[in-house]
Assembly symmetry: C2
Homo-oligomer: 158 residues x 2
């Protein structure tokens, strides 16, 4: 399970800001963006994931994996986006259990329309406060952490 000694000064100086970012960033991003575009950050993430997929099509479970959300959440978000005409849900021909979500033209248009607003929020919240050097040095560290978190779920306990 690793080392159980207390966090040292540098670890603390990494951990506390990270915690703070985790609570503060979502709020900083969400509100204005929703007001400006009618899309949740989550909605946006789903649309992005679809837009980048071949055929703009992805399995529901694939969406869950690429966005990092739970299956149940994705299921509901996709339902909602379907109701709003931004994605379409097609039962998979090859496997009757599975569904694919497809980005509609309206969805793509909406995504493109939202992009500037998203960009503005991200720059205002994050990149306007960091130097190129910051981004270059911290990026890989964040990437390692993200990969580890994705890989961890299979119980690491007992």
């Amino acid at each position: 399970m690793g080392d159980l000694s207390a966090l040292d000064a540098e670890e603390t100086a990494f951990w506390r800001p990270l915690m703070r970012i985790m609570t503060a960033l979502p709020r900083a991003l969400e509100d204005q963006f929703l007001a400006e575009t009618g899309l949740t950050i989550t909605d946006y993430g789903v649309l992005v994931a679809l837009s980048e997929a071949p055929e703009r099509l992805l399995r529901i479970s694939g969406l869950a994996a690429t966005t990092g959300l739970s299956l149940s959440r994705i299921s509901r978000v996709v339902d909602d986006l379907t109701r709003r005409g931004l994605v379409e849900k097609r039962r998979c021909a090859a496997d009757g259990r599975a569904s694919n979500a497809v980005l509609t033209e309206a969805g793509l248009a909406r995504l493109e329309a939202a992009y500037p607003s998203h960009l503005a929020r991200v720059r205002a919240s994050v990149f306007d406060h960091l130097s190129a050097e910051d981004i270059r040095t911290a990026g890989p560290v964040l990437a390692r952490l993200a990969v580890a978190l994705d890989a961890t779920p299979p119980t690491d306990d007992c």
Copy 2:
């Protein structure tokens, strides 16, 4: 409002992992910790904040500020912790509107009991995957970002 050009490769390589961390880390931390200690990460944060305050006492609004949570959330969390005997709420003598939350002995004991579990989760989720070098280089960047996020709330729009 800053630069509105699209994110470049390095910015993207910073941003996507960060998003991922924000969604995945809370879950990685929360569940086991709650099961092991009966405390939410939020509860824990409140207890920590109190334990570090002089007299182990903090205004409700001070707690909101130091934890980064909304006033309404803190209000309810403190109520809950009070009901559980881990903190005590005292109306402030000097100002009848204000309340102070004080960490009780039981609360301190609970906090100390929870510490090893918290430590284990944090190490397993985060530090076990990073080198000392990672932590040293990325820490300050995260700190800058956290500070900026705290400072931003006063409308940055229009």
